[in-house]
Point group: C2
Chain length 280, copies 2
């Protein structure tokens, strides 16, 4: 693991690192924030943060203002990239919603994507193992949150492994990718046209199949979000949660859009949500 940079922020340390990922078969970069207590070796809770389309491992950290509140709660952050980089798949840089910057936090099964586009296993195992081996992170107190495509990632990973991810929240998540254009495009390419294979990576389908999370799921959704009706449709997830008995705090925020300005506004509540669960 190579250190790209380390700097102080809010009394803790913000670092960017690169490693050779065996799951991805490529070098991968990620960010880690350690609150002050962790700098002297105290094991602390950790929240993984998954960014949206076009972002990288730095974007959510610098634009969301999450570091301030992670520091206040004494919680570490791990920020992966949004896709492999340099996989050399033909066309991977041609669109903002497929390929580079658009890994959808799943394991592709179809060529030419399957060789490297394996962010699912990277998020579920390799990155937690790596970071918890190097930094004083308490894997028994591990949460996950995300935005848009990353909100999808947070929900499917938490519903798929609720014992592994103890707390979960999302901003404007793609709750039912199998039924909206972003998801249909990406899942079709990464997973093929047999739609039964899509359900394992679709949060609404997971709820419908009986997968739930023991803790309340917090979701904020802006009502001026330009992608609300076409790509996000939180009511679909809300219905599935009610039927499945999943506790859900879905907050509809008048006036707010899909941007990091929206995330900045409500990030304090999300860190408080994770702190309440992870520190109990």
């Amino acid at each position: 693991m190579e250190t790209l940079s380390e700097t102080y922020c809010c009394g803790g340390r913000l670092g960017f690192y690169r490693h050779a990922s065996s799951v991805l078969g490529l070098e991968a970069a990620f960010g880690v924030f350690l609150p002050e207590a962790a700098l002297s070796g105290t094991s602390v809770p950790v929240v993984h943060i998954l960014a949206g389309l076009t972002c990288n491992h730095e974007t959510f950290l610098i634009k969301s203002n999450i570091v301030r509140f992670a520091a206040q709660h004494g919680i570490a952050l791990v920020a992966p990239d949004t896709s492999p980089r340099g996989a050399d798949v033909p066309g991977e840089d041609d669109a903002y919603d497929l390929g580079t910057g658009a890994g959808f936090y799943l394991d592709a099964t179809r060529p030419p994507w399957a060789a490297h586009y394996r962010m699912g296993s990277y998020i579920a195992s390799e990155l937690p193992s790596l970071t918890e081996g190097v930094f004083p992170l308490n894997g028994a107190r591990r949460g996950i949150m995300g935005h848009s495509m990353g909100g999808h990632g947070a929900l499917v990973h938490a519903l798929g492994a609720p014992g592994f991810w103890k707390s979960v929240s999302a901003f404007a998540p793609i709750v039912h990718p199998a039924a909206v254009p972003w998801g249909e495009k990406a899942f079709g390419a990464y997973l093929g046209e047999d739609r039964w294979a899509w359900d394992a990576w679709d949060a609404t389908a997971l709820l419908r199949s009986g997968r739930t999370h023991p803790e309340t799921i917090l979701i904020d959704q802006g009502l001026a979000d330009q992608f609300l009706a076409r790509e996000l449709q939180p009511e679909v997830f809300e219905d599935a949660a009610r039927i499945a008995g999943q506790e859900l705090n879905l907050r509809r925020q008048a006036h707010y859009d899909h941007s990091y300005w929206f995330i900045q506004t409500f990030i304090e509540d999300h860190m408080a949500h994770h702190a309440l669960i992870l520190k109990s």
Copy 2:
């Protein structure tokens, strides 16, 4: 004035706009944050924020987390660009520290820069007039802050017009550009080699000539700042302030560098500094 985008953030409204600047002779973009009270027409105090080298009118707003604290204090923000854009000066895009993204908030007097590189007058008059004519901003309660090159800008404008800029603060400012490489390069190009002309745009020279500000100047400076010894040298300004009788709160912050991670850490204190003065 054209609206590029408007979105909600922290209960207020964040907008980006473009106008034909008569001072610059070019189109110029800027950002404005209005806190909630201003949305119903109440006139509010305003702080102008000047970013550093390579930034644009969005950078300080999105990366510093200033909006949250401006909202809490009910203070508006105005964020200009760091230089003219599209002046078509030969070589203006060749270096990060001269030309595009490096206007140094002064009025160039030498060709080929003098035609458009007039950020000094833009900051001092055109942008305040424009924004106070369009938005409910109280020009009697107007402050200025900045980072690095923008810290230089905030200090020289406040010392040059202390009745106009009622409060001032800076992060890692270039306090004595006439004596450091960044400033020598830019001032030589923009103002020519007659160094007496540089003093009007040098905060330390202004203090030495007897120009002071009636309010305390707040400066944060990281001690792990990679530019500290070569470009920043806050002790030079500190000495000049002591001799001039200028109240100065220069805080040396161990471990912190020159980045927006540093700014994020201390921005709350800066907004409190401005609020205390502007709302008294």
